[in-house]
Subunit: 118 residues, 2 copies
C-alpha cells in the first residue's frame, strides 16, 4: 500500500467523516480552508480511486466517491505494514506496547483478551 499525500489525506478524512458517498463538488465544498479549483479535487479523487482508496459509483453524470475501507482498517494496515518491516517482530511489538499510553494499553489489552475468549 502506498502512503497518501497531504491533500489526499485531507480528502480521505472528509470522506471518512461523512457516511454518505460524496460528489467531487460536495467534497470541494467541505474543504474550506484551501481554495482549490474544482478540477483539482476531481483529479485527487480520481487518483485516490485508482489507488484503491475510494470506490465510485455513477449518480447521473457525476461520480459519488466513498472510502473503500474504513479509516481504522487503513490505520491498522499501516501499523501492520510497519511491523512487517522489522526482522524481529516481537521486539518491535514489545516496544510498541511500552510506547502506547495507559488508556490505550487498556484498550489493546481488552481487545486481546476478548480475542482469547472467543
Amino acid at each position: 500500500m502506498k502512503g497518501l499525500g497531504e491533500l489526499e489525506r485531507s480528502i480521505m478524512d472528509i470522506l471518512w467523516a461523512e457516511n454518505a458517498p460524496l460528489t467531487a463538488r460536495e467534497v470541494g465544498r467541505l474543504i474550506e480552508d484551501r481554495d482549490l479549483a474544482p478540477t483539482t479535487v476531481m483529479t485527487v479523487l480520481d487518483r485516490l480511486s485508482r489507488k484503491g482508496f475510494l470506490t465510485r459509483t455513477r449518480d447521473g453524470r457525476a461520480w459519488r466517491y466513498q472510502p473503500a475501507a474504513s479509516r481504522d482498517a487503513y490505520v491498522a494496515e499501516l501499523m501492520l505494514e510497519a511491523l512487517d518491516m522489522t526482522g524481529d517482530r516481537d521486539a518491535a511489538l514489545t516496544r510498541f506496547a511500552r510506547a502506547v499510553s495507559g488508556s490505550e494499553a487498556e484498550i489493546l489489552l481488552k481487545a486481546l483478551t476478548e480475542l482469547e475468549e472467543e
Copy 2:
C-alpha cells in the same frame, strides 16, 4: 518522520544488522546484489544522516555511520505515527489487535501485562 526509499531502507537494514559503525565502503561491500557506485552509497548515507536516521563519527578521513535509533524503535514509531492519524484511536487499536496473528497477540499481551505489574 519521513519514510525511507528502497535503497535507503536496504542500507538501514545493513546498519541495523551490523552492530558496529560502518564506513561507506564497508556498507557498499555488504550490498552485493546491486552493483552500486561507491559515491551512490556515500550519497545515500549522507542523506540518511541528514535526515536523522544515522549518526556519523570520524575515523581517520572516513566517516563511520551507525543508526541513530534501533530498528524496533523506528518500527514502533511508525506504528504510533499511523495510530496518530486516526480520529478514533481506540477503534484502530482494537482492529489492530484483531489483525495480529495469535503468537504475536501473545507477545503483545505479555508486554502489556508486564507493564501493568510494574
